[in-house]
C-alpha cells in the first residue's frame, strides 16, 4: 500500500525523520529559524520511541552533550542555526578528532554576527573548510527539498557510523520554514547493538576503550592525524553525491547548492524558453565536493555561473574543479535576500552569454 503523503514544514519533517530513524538522543538550544526541530521533538519523540530530548543551557553545552553521548555508541544529534553553530565549532573539532559519529543540523540564517533570521548560505566555508581548529573534515549533505530534509537524516546517521565521523546537514531558513509534500519512511527500531569502540564499561575479556582528542606525544598525535586523513581520502573516493539537470546539451551551467539550485532550475527553464541552453549542477555533498564531475562537464560547455546566498564561497571550489578550462562567474545575495529566477537569468546573460557570443 502506498504510504500517505504529508504536507510538512522542513523543520518539522526533519524532526519527524529523526524519530523515524531511531535516533537515541537530541541535545539542542532554540534559535530561529530552526526552533521547530526542538519543539517537535519535545512533543513527539520521547513518548513514541523513548528517545532522549533535552534542551541544554547553551549551544556549547549541547555539542558537548552530543560528544559525551556519542561516546556510548548511540545515535545522537543536535541542531541549530548559524550563530549557534559557530558556538559549537570547538566541540565539533573534538568529536571529529575522537572519531565519533553524530549528526549536526545547521538551518542557516544570514550573517555575519547575529545577522538576520532570514535564510543564508554564508556558512559554507565554516562547514567544509573546518570551522573549528585542526585538520578535520565535516561530511556535509545539502538538501534542496523538504523531502531531502527527511531522506538525508537516515543517510547522515549511516555515514556517521560507517566512518565514525560527525556529519552535517546544511539547510537554510527557507527550507526549514516552507511546506512541501513528503513521503515518510517506516519507523526504524532504536538499535540495541553497541559498537566495539563505545565506552560503556569495561568487561574482563577486553582492553578498555578510550575516547579522547588529546595526545601529548607528537608522534602519537601525528598518527591520529594520518588515520583521519586516510579516512577522509576514503570518504572523498566513495561518498561524492551531486545532481545534474538538463546538462547533456547545455552551453552554460548554473552551479548552486540547496534551495538556490531549485531557483536556478527555474532560471534555466526561463533561459531555454529564450533559446539559451542552460543546465544546473547541484553538489549534494559539499564535502566531499564533486570536483571530478564538474571538471568533466567543463569540456562540453561555454561557461559556469555559480549562484549562492553569500559573497562567493563555494565558487572557490567550482574554480578549483574547472581549473581554468572555462570562465566561472559568480552571483550572490547576502543578508537574508533570496535571488529570483529572473535575476539569475539576467546575470547569466550579462556575465556569460553576452560576453561569449
Amino acid at each position: 500500500m502506498k504510504k500517505e503523503l504529508k504536507l510538512m514544514k522542513g523543520n518539522e519533517a526533519l524532526a519527524e525523520a529523526v524519530i523515524l530513524a531511531g535516533c537515541d538522543a537530541y541535545f539542542g538550544y532554540p534559535i530561529t529559524p530552526q526552533s521547530e526541530v526542538l519543539e517537535y521533538l519535545s512533543l513527539e519523540a520521547t513518548k513514541r520511541t523513548g528517545m532522549v530530548v533535552l534542551q541544554a543551557e547553551s549551544e556549547v553545552a549541547s555539542i558537548n552533550m552530543v560528544y559525551g553521548a556519542a561516546g556510548t555508541g548511540k545515535r545522537v544529534m543536535t541542531s541549530s542555526s548559524s550563530p549557534g553553530i559557530s558556538l559549537m565549532q570547538e566541540g565539533i573539532s573534538y568529536i571529529a578528532c575522537a572519531q565519533l559519529p553524530c549528526l549536526i543540523v545547521n538551518v542557516q540564517r544570514g550573517g555575519p554576527g547575529l545577522g538576520t533570521i532570514q535564510p543564508g548560505q554564508a556558512d559554507y566555508f565554516q562547514t567544509v573548510k573546518g570551522g573549528g581548529h585542526g585538520d578535520y573534515k565535516l561530511l556535509t549533505l545539502a538538501p534542496s527539498t523538504v523531502q531531502e530534509m527527511v531522506d538525508f537524516v537516515d543517510t547522515a546517521f549511516q555515514l556517521a557510523f560507517k566512518y565514525r565521523t560527525p556529519v552535517m546537514i546544511l539547510a537554510d531558513g527557507a527550507l526549514g520554514q516552507m511546506m512541501e509534500k513528503v513521503q515518510l519512511p517506516d519507523q526504524k527500531e532504536r538499535t540495541k547493538e553497541i559498537p566495539a569502540w563505545a565506552t560503556v564499561g569495561k568487561t574482563k575479556d577486553r582492553e578498555r576503550n578510550i575516547i579522547t582528542s588529546l595526545s601529548l606525544d607528537p608522534h602519537v598525535m601525528e598518527n591520529v592525524n594520518l588515520q583521519l586523513q586516510e579516512k577522509y581520502r576514503t570518504i572523498e573516493k566513495n561518498e561524492v553525491r551531486y545532481e545534474m539537470t538538463d546538462c547533456e546539451d547545455a552551453d552554460y551551467i548554473l552551479v548552486a547548492f540547496g534551495l538556490v539550485a531549485r531557483i536556478c532550475q527555474k532560471a534555466a527553464h526561463l533561459a531555454r524558453e529564450k533559446g539559451i541552453k542552460v543546465g544546473v549542477f547541484r553538489p549534494i555533498t559539499l564535502y566531499p565536493f564533486p570536483y571530478e564531475a564538474l571538471n568533466k562537464l567543463a569540456d562540453n560547455v561555454k561557461g559556469f555561473l555559480d549562484v549562492e546566498m553569500n559573497a562567493g564561497q563555494m565558487v572557490e571550489d567550482v574554480k578549483l574543479a574547472v581549473l581554468g578550462k572555462k570562465p566561472v562567474e559568480f552571483h550572490g545575495r547576502m543578508g537574508g535576500v533570496i535571488p529570483s529566477p529572473e535575476e539569475i537569468l539576467h546575470k547569466l546573460e550579462e556575465k556569460l552569454v553576452g560576453e561569449l557570443v
Binding site: L7, T116, I117, M179, E180, K181, L259, R262, P341
Partner: protein
C-alpha cells in the same frame, strides 16, 4: 497545469492558512505543491504573505516574483504586489479596506467585499475563506470537495464545529466571484 499564487495581507487575516488550505487540497488530488511563507518580524502586526505553487509537474523554484494570481487583503499588499501579476493574470482583492484600487488594464481584476459579507455571516474571521471561495470559482484548479478536505486538515480539531460556517463562506465567495460588486 501550473498555478503560481501569492497571498498577502496583515498578519492575523489568515493569509498563511489560506495558502495551507490550498496546498492540502491539492495534495488530496495528488498534485505537487509548495508553500513558502514570509517569516520573521514582519509577521507581527505587519504584512505577511505566502507563495503557493500548485502543479501537475515537479516544482523547481519555490521563490517567484511574477504570479498567475495575486490575492491581497490590504492596501500595502495591493501596492506591493499589483505589478507582480503576470500579464493576463488575475488580481483578487478584499475591497473594504482599499482606498486606491488597482489601475492595471492588462490583467483581470476582481474586488470581493469579503469583510462585510463576513459580518453578515456573523464571524469576521472567515473573511479569508470568502476570498478563497472567489479564487476557486475563478480558477477551479482543485475541486470544492478537495478544498473542504484541505480545510479539515488545516483547522485544528477543536474548531471543527466551524466547518459548516467555513463551507458557507467558501460558497459565498464563489457566488460573489460570479457577479462582482462595483467598487
Amino acid at each position: 497545469m501550473t498555478e503560481e499564487i501569492i497571498i498577502a495581507g496583515f498578519g492575523g487575516q489568515g493569509v498563511l492558512s489560506m495558502g495551507q488550505i490550498l496546498c492540502y487540497s491539492a495534495v488530496m488530488e495528488d498534485k505537487e505543491v509548495s508553500w513558502m511563507p514570509s517569516y520573521g518580524p514582519e509577521m507581527r502586526g505587519g504584512t505577511a504573505n505566502c507563495i503557493v505553487i500548485i502543479s501537475d509537474e515537479k516544482i523547481s523554484s519555490p521563490i517567484l516574483t511574477k504570479f498567475d494570481t495575486v490575492i491581497v487583503l490590504n492596501q500595502p499588499s495591493l501596492d506591493k504586489f499589483e505589478n507582480a501579476v503576470k500579464p493576463g493574470g488575475l488580481l483578487i482583492y478584499e475591497s473594504s479596506a482599499i482606498i486606491n484600487p488597482p489601475t492595471r488594464t492588462d490583467i483581470e481584476i476582481l474586488p470581493i467585499d469579503a469583510a462585510n459579507e463576513a459580518v453578515k455571516l456573523k464571524n469576521t474571521k472567515i473573511m479569508n475563506m470568502i476570498v478563497l471561495g472567489a479564487f476557486l470559482k475563478k480558477k477551479p484548479i482543485i475541486s470544492f470537495e478537495s478544498a473542504m478536505k484541505g480545510l479539515k486538515k488545516v483547522l485544528p480539531e477543536r474548531y471543527h464545529n466551524l466547518i459548516p460556517l467555513n463551507q458557507e463562506a467558501l460558497e459565498k465567495g464563489m457566488e460573489l466571484a460570479e457577479k462582482p460588486v462595483a467598487v
